[in-house]
Subunit: 358 residues, 2 copies
């Protein structure tokens, strides 16, 4: 019989339709295999084509000349930004409706000069540099008081909305805190008011005890399949100790985060034949009253795009998921990773325990 599960943070129900269950190999094959050239002449993000993008706002480079070759991570404004960096925030009503002008930032993090690599497949040092650049841009954007929320996200593959092939992430700074984020915050605060504990810290403890949904752990981070995933093989990565924002991570913590992120993406790629995916980084809003959201616990959500959200999901917000997170975790854990030996040693796969029944 299908099962309904409630996400304790978003409060959304998810249908785990076990009768429709599919093995990893049953999902449609990706249009996004690894058969790409290392350099593409027409690609605006490849080395040598720096003049095809807006000027860089940040680059890690060996040469000192901006917008020239010699970089290993490069951040530019989006050429077709969803929001505009210029201008003051202006709000107005039109009859019963509410407008704001679209002030915000929309940046692109070009993750490597190599057209055919990505954050999951570059070497560990490069992955750390990418994430360090993201953190640096976040710190800078969060100083702009017009911005209330910053989202780092990645669209990988056409089906996941990537319009350009060259590996990149995106960052959008918004002049308001989105409803979905507000719901997460409300929920975290409610839980704290009631239990005097962080809901995500509790979740980590329950996942560690149960074990069957855990993929990976190192000293600082844990990766697991959430209890009520909207998508098959959805994977979350959280710092094990409570920290509200990605901005506060140290270099050492970013190094450990890069390790577990790369391992998770490699598991997904191997298990599901390089599927398209999105990931989004959830963190506390910025420019709120000081320490306004101490109870938030930052985390990354990876969502492989193996099925299509259709009328039912659009009409209710309830997702039908054909793979249980326990099955997904089992398949993902079984993947033989050939990453650095050093990484291997610093990670330990969880031991399965028992979930307490109320």
């Amino acid at each position: 019989m299908p099962q309904l599960r409630k996400d304790p943070v978003t409060h959304e129900w998810v249908i785990i339709a076990t009768e429709r269950s599919r093995r990893p190999s049953d999902f449609a094959k990706s249009d996004d295999g690894p058969a790409k050239p290392a350099f593409s002449e027409k690609c605006a993000f490849c080395t040598g084509n720096e003049s095809l993008t807006p000027p860089e706002v940040l680059a890690y480079r060996s040469s000192e000349v901006a917008d020239s070759p010699g970089w290993w991570v490069r951040v530019v404004s989006n050429k077709f930004p969803a929001l505009s960096i210029e201008g003051q925030l202006d709000r107005c009503g039109v009859g019963m409706y509410d407008y704001m002008n679209g002030v915000g930032a929309h940046e692109v993090i070009i993750e490597t000069p190599e057209h055919n690599k990505c954050i999951g497949t570059v070497n560990h040092r490069q992955a750390v540099e990418i994430l360090w650049a993201c953190r640096q841009r976040m710190i800078d954007l969060s100083r702009d008081e017009r911005f209330k929320y910053i989202l780092l996200f990645r669209n990988h593959g056409k089906i996941a909305g990537a319009s350009l092939e060259h590996p990149h992430s995106q960052m959008i700074a918004l002049p308001m805190v989105p409803m979905d984020v507000m719901q997460e915050i409300r929920s975290v605060n409610q839980f704290y008011d009631y239990h005097d504990r962080c809901i995500f810290c509790d979740m980590i403890r329950q996942e560690q005890n149960f074990g069957k949904r855990v993929l990976d752990q190192n000293d600082e981070f844990i990766a697991f399949e959430p209890f009520a995933p909207q998508f098959p093989f959805e994977t979350w990565i959280l710092p094990k100790l409570h920290r509200a924002s990605f901005i506060d991570e140290s270099r050492e913590q970013i190094e450990q985060f890069a390790t577990i992120l790369q391992r998770s993406l490699q598991r997904i790629a191997k298990c599901l034949n390089h599927p398209p995916y999105n990931y989004t980084l959830h963190m506390a809003p910025c420019n709120q009253e000081r320490d306004a959201h101490p109870y938030f616990h930052w985390h990354l959500e990876i969502m492989p795009r193996l099925t299509i959200a259709a009328g039912f999901e659009m009409g209710t917000g309830v997702y039908i998921n054909v793979t249980s997170p326990e099955d997904a975790a089992e398949h993902l854990r079984a993947v033989d990773l050939d990453c650095d030996k050093e990484q291997q040693e610093s990670c330990q796969v969880a031991v399965a325990g028992k979930e307490p029944v109320h």
Copy 2:
């Protein structure tokens, strides 16, 4: 400059990114053109193949033999249901998590015996019969006290999640009211508490006065592009007079609804080269305390699938829409409809007015 607009009911912001604006012909062409056969031997929904589906729960037919040819609308249980009709609702907690067993109904409305028609292209009488069958199934399902919400939806085309080609809609009855629907209800009630008026009735009045987003009107219904659409060319149809549920519509009202629905779908098909789309019918929950939701105003939302929701939408719930609803309405109104003359006469295109500025 891009614009942020807030949906007055869901309270979600939408980014109208005018700099990225595209003309209807710029959107990718559909994989779902009209070049299909009228009968497909292997199709479980074609006449003669009735044994390939679960037994019918309703059929409008000339012969009296169930599950045989001679029907014009046929409703069956989904062969791979997302929820199971058998069993009692059972809730339990597992540590901090909440489960329910997946009790519900999942039915398929086979809209016509003809493999290559759909609710937008069948004759008007057949469209009325389809919608009447939906209403009849809703009435029947709403008598089951285990069910709290019923969603009628349609997935048209592969990209919109239709796994079978033969024209069909689906109905799912849920044992709880989904979060998104609860948010709509809360919002409608808040507005009523404050203004003593229905928010949708106000919206209709403002759209009629402004005119530029209106596509069509007849005596009973209005079709317009909403102020803050998540999708390019998103179209809503509402009864002009306040009614909470589709279940209470009369035969005459369904006839007028069929007219405006068919005209809207034909406009979308002609303007955008037969795009994939979803539609969902929003109505008051069932089996609540008597008259629990008198302020709800039922409506249908049509969402063409022209762009891909990606990391940004998944991480914030805020959608980037590349076409303003005013532009979309202009393009859709310009479509030359060749539907029945009778229909043409009963519909009038709105006259553009002015939107009041606060």
